[in-house]
């Protein structure tokens, strides 16, 4: 699940991890009650500072996505549907923002993008 974590990205690692978990909950990949990897296990797998994982889990707990049970681990909480929808919307917005930024860098305008978008999505529904 955490394959995309990129230490070289300017986004802080703890934010990347937290964002990934939020998205997984929003998309239904993680259900309420599921356990997240332990701090030690995740820091070992990703080869990052355990403090980073701790911070990510804390942020998620503050946002209400997870519950930290001392001695037992970190577990996903029940997140209401509107909240999940908000999260999906935020993710979509972020993806579009990045796309627009990259496009602007090479001088591609919104109209060209829209045309490309239509052709791509049109092609998929036709298939």
């Amino acid at each position: 699940m955490f394959d995309d974590i990129d230490p070289r990205s300017p986004t802080p690692l703890y934010e990347q991890i937290a964002a990934r978990v939020r998205m997984a909950v929003a998309a239904g990949e993680l259900a309420a009650g599921d356990g997240l990897p332990s701090v030690r296990a995740l820091s070992h797998t990703l080869r990052i500072n355990p403090a980073t994982v701790v911070q990510a889990y804390r942020d998620l707990a503050l946002d209400g996505f997870v519950e930290i049970r001392h001695g037992q681990g970190t577990f996903v909480r029940e997140v209401a549907a509107p909240r999940r929808a908000d999260e999906r919307a935020a993710q979509a917005t972020e993806l579009v923002r990045q796309l627009l930024q990259s496009a602007a860098r090479v001088g591609i305008g919104v109209e060209e993008l829209t045309r490309a978008f239509r052709s791509q999505t049109g092609a998929e529904t036709r298939e």
Binding site: R8, R40, S43, R47, N49
Partner: protein
């Protein structure tokens, strides 16, 4: 909790060429502090002074709240040190050296040492002189971690090791930090390695500490800007004019490739809110590009040296 390491005004001179100039450094408790710098910048010398093995000309050093060198034995009981070159007796076997080392540390944890022996694949009966570089590096770490220290001081622990061993070493360090909540002070010139694990970074170049800040701020704060409308030759502060000086630090300024193209500025200490400043001085900020840590590190070093100076 006191800082893991606190250095104030450290200075030292050796002959004409090499010096440490007024180094002031703080590694907070329970943090992983990356000590970056090119070869010859003075990292090892600073670390030796930290460990009480060399005497500075001036300056104050405190480790885990205790003074160096006044309380050296108490400090050494709680600090695990991996020096640049293996400091173990070549004629002993691995098991003999482990036993020797263990006898000096009251906090020695035999289960840890046994587990690491297996995990690192070390043969206890093997003579140390016959160990490969990677195995020797792992042995040093085994000795250090089995002491259960509160602070790990690692001087280029992965230098010259192959990628597999490097991972083994770093993951053992991270696991220990996770288990014991220890602080780590690790020096390296391998920027990418430290990028994923350090909370703080201190950059040493030519005997001076040119930057010390949280890793995140360092990564985020260095950007490549595409700026249009600037007259060639003017400095950033010159451009600021009346509204005030530039809020960021300009590290380098590259001229435009073509007349219509924007210039490239490499800046430090960037925040998004600074976009507004450009309009205020009649410039157009076309783009802000992220730099990864290695690029940022290189640009920082380049800018802190007099132009034209070559370094090995």
């Amino acid at each position: 909790m006191s800082d893991a390491i606190e250095i104030t005004g450290l200075a030292w001179k050796a002959g004409q060429s090499f010096a440490l100039r007024d180094i002031t450094l703080r590694a907070p408790a329970a943090s992983i502090y990356g000590f970056l710098g090119p070869n010859g910048s003075g990292k090892t010398t600073t670390i030796r002074m930290l460990m009480g093995m060399m005497k500075p000309d001036r300056g104050n050093i405190r480790v885990l709240g205790m003074g160096v060198p006044q309380q050296m034995p108490q400090i050494l009981a709680r600090v695990g040190y991996v020096p640049e070159r293996p400091h173990v007796y070549p004629a002993l076997t691995v098991a003999e050296h482990v036993r020797y080392h263990a006898s000096f540390f009251p906090r020695w944890d035999a289960p840890t040492s046994r587990d690491l022996m297996v995990r690192f694949g070390l043969d206890p009966a093997q003579r140390i002189s016959r160990l490969s570089k990677g195995e020797a590096g792992k042995l040093l770490l085994l000795l250090t971690l089995s002491q259960r220290p509160d602070l790990l001081v690692l001087d280029e622990p992965t230098d010259g090791l192959d990628p597999v061993v490097r991972r083994d070493v770093l993951s053992a360090v991270l696991d220990y930090v996770g288990d014991a909540g220890a602080s780590v002070f690790i020096s390296s010139h391998l920027v990418h390695e430290l990028e994923r694990i350090c909370d703080w970074v201190g950059v040493l170049d030519g005997g001076s500490l040119v930057a010390e800040l949280p890793m995140q701020a360092f990564k985020n704060g260095i950007k490549r800007l595409r700026v249009a409308g600037a007259a060639a030759g003017e400095s950033a502060s010159g451009l600021a004019g009346d509204p005030g000086r530039a809020p960021f630090t300009l590290l380098t300024r590259e001229p435009a490739d073509a007349p219509a193209s924007p210039e490239t500025w490499i800046v430090r200490g960037w925040e998004d809110s600074m976009r507004a400043w450009f309009a205020g001085v009649g410039l157009e900020l076309r783009d802000v590009v992220d730099l990864d840590l290695e690029d940022g590190f290189v640009e920082l070093l380049r800018s802190s040296r007099p132009s034209g100076e070559a370094r090995s």
